[in-house]
Amino acid sequence: MKTPAIQIHDVHKQFGQLNALNGIDLSIEQGEFFALLGPNGAGKSTLINIMAGLLRPTIGHVSIMGHDVIADYQQARMALGVVPQELVFDPFFNVREMLRFQAGYFGHGPENDAWVDQVIEGLGLTDKAHTNMRKLSGGMKRRALIAQALAHRPPVIVLDEPTAGVDVELRQMLWGFIKQLNREGHTIILTTHYLEEAETLCERVAMMKQGKIVALDTTANLLKSHAGKNLRLTLKGAHLPPALLPMLKHGELGVFTLALSDLTQVEFALAELRKANVDIEDMQLIEADLEDVFMSLVGGV
């Protein structure tokens, strides 16, 4: 069996009285496209910072490509590229210089310049290669930040909310590029608030809540097991019969979405509507998405 890209064993992290992480166990295989989901404060960034060596776990061990992040931190960091969540940059240098410096810290020299140029091109930064970091727009800074994490060609790439505040076009481009890296064999771990992104991109998902992993499965299994289908009804009368209220997920302007735990509930809903003499204008059966899984597991926080 291949060494896991990331192995997390019983990791706890305390900040004073606060338990940010409460016993995380997680193994991510090489070549996976993995999503880490959870509300703000669930501990995603803390976990990432422990992988990156920016924080030390109170208890537990993390290794990257088989290298412990504390005992063997140099090898572990060589194998890891982290895209931080905040748009940080060094105001003294231009994009290409910054990337070459970044690669240089990892011991790379001119032989790596071709890869740096490839990253610049892949992220659509070619026109900006000689522009000072200060003068880049927000979107361009985001690309440069991703490029910086890739400069030393790490096999494992962690992206902490890479598409927060990024427009649709750039998001598409970023995912195109990252999918290509994944096809070339890089392991990708991302956190995101856009659940549909995780759903379309990632094979496997971990959901976190209050420092614990509450679900860990393939995206397909999570969708199958944790969320039923939804029934969307457009009704002539603006009111839903009271018997259906417990199933209501949201409703406005005569359009109601009901959560179904199984398909027999469709019959029940229709019968109730007939009993109440409500006319149905339109009816749709909708597949559950990760958001439903997410809400059922993490919701109510």
């Binding site: 920016l54 140099q74 940059f89 060094d90 003294f92 240089g104 810290y105 011991g107 020299g109 001119p110």
Partner: protein, 262 residues
């Protein structure tokens, strides 16, 4: 621009890159980091020598203007070595981009060496610039060049190290400014840049002897004139002791990840 030479072995490239980045960082704004301290020192020289030249003679046979030059060189050298490491660190902490260094396999020793080396280069460069400009106006002897070099090197190393400590400790620019104005400036001005401590009342002479800056400046000045307030060997021992103590504290901070890693 070529940043890293292919001949440098890969084990050395990490710290070398950080050193080079720190050098370029101040060199890109040389107007502020080199030209302006040189101008400031010249203004001091001009004004103090104009006002005091005929009134003060500190050492026998040494005009006040000449006496002043080594003090001004050392003062600027110390301030600039401190500014280089401290401002770089506080800026990258406040901007958040210090994370790019923390994510790398650089060891704490490499981190220290790179920041220190860049600080030393800036200090020496500013000092040399002031010397080269001032010898157009003032005759300054060079009695023991070796002592001059030794104290310039140790002084810039001491303040470079101090700058790293301050840069790691401070959380905001405000605290850094306080450090600079309430610690560095008084220690510099009260160290004998503009006077010999023998001209002070006995109490302040004793106080001055607790100021490490006094020994750096006095030893440095000895190199120019062959005379000083104390023996250069005493100064050497004191400065070395302070350097070792500060470097030890700094390395301990870096090793523990104090304020950098949680």
């Amino acid at each position: 621009m070529k940043l890293i030479d292919a001949n440098i072995p890969s084990a050395w490239r990490g710290p070398y890159t950080l050193f080079k980045k720190e050098l370029l960082r101040f060199w890109r704004v040389a107007f502020q980091t080199v030209a302006s301290p040189v101008l400031t020192a010249l203004l001091y020289l001009l004004i103090f020598s104009h006002v005091l030249a005929d009134h003060v003679q500190v050492y026998k046979g040494v005009p006040y203007t000449a006496f002043l030059v080594p003090g001004l060189i050392m003062m600027s050298l110390l301030q600039n070595s401190f500014a280089n490491s401290s401002s770089s660190l506080i800026q990258s902490k406040v901007m958040g981009n210090v994370v790019f260094i923390l994510l790398t396999p650089l060891t704490y020793l490499q981190f220290f060496s790179a920041f220190l080396a860049a600080s030393i280069i800036r200090g020496l460069f500013v000092g040399l610039s002031i010397y080269l400009v001032s010898i157009w106006f003032v005759d300054v002897p060079l009695v023991h060049p070796m002592w001059i070099f030794v104290f310039a090197l140790l002084g810039s190393a001491l303040l470079g190290t101090f700058g790293i400590i301050a840069g790691i400790w401070a959380d905001k620019f405000d605290q850094m400014a306080a450090f600079q104005n309430f610690v560095i400036m008084p220690l510099t001005f009260l160290s004998g840049v503009f006077y010999s401590i023998h001209s002070l009342p006995p109490f302040w002479q004793v106080v001055s002897k607790f100021n490490p800056f006094f020994y750096m400046i006095d030893g440095f000045r000895y190199g120019f004139f062959g005379q000083g307030d104390v023996s250069p060997w005493i100064s050497l021992v004191v400065v070395m002791a302070f350097l070792i103590a500060l470097a030890w504290a700094c390395l301990k901070m870096l090793k523990s990840g104090y304020k950098l890693r949680g």
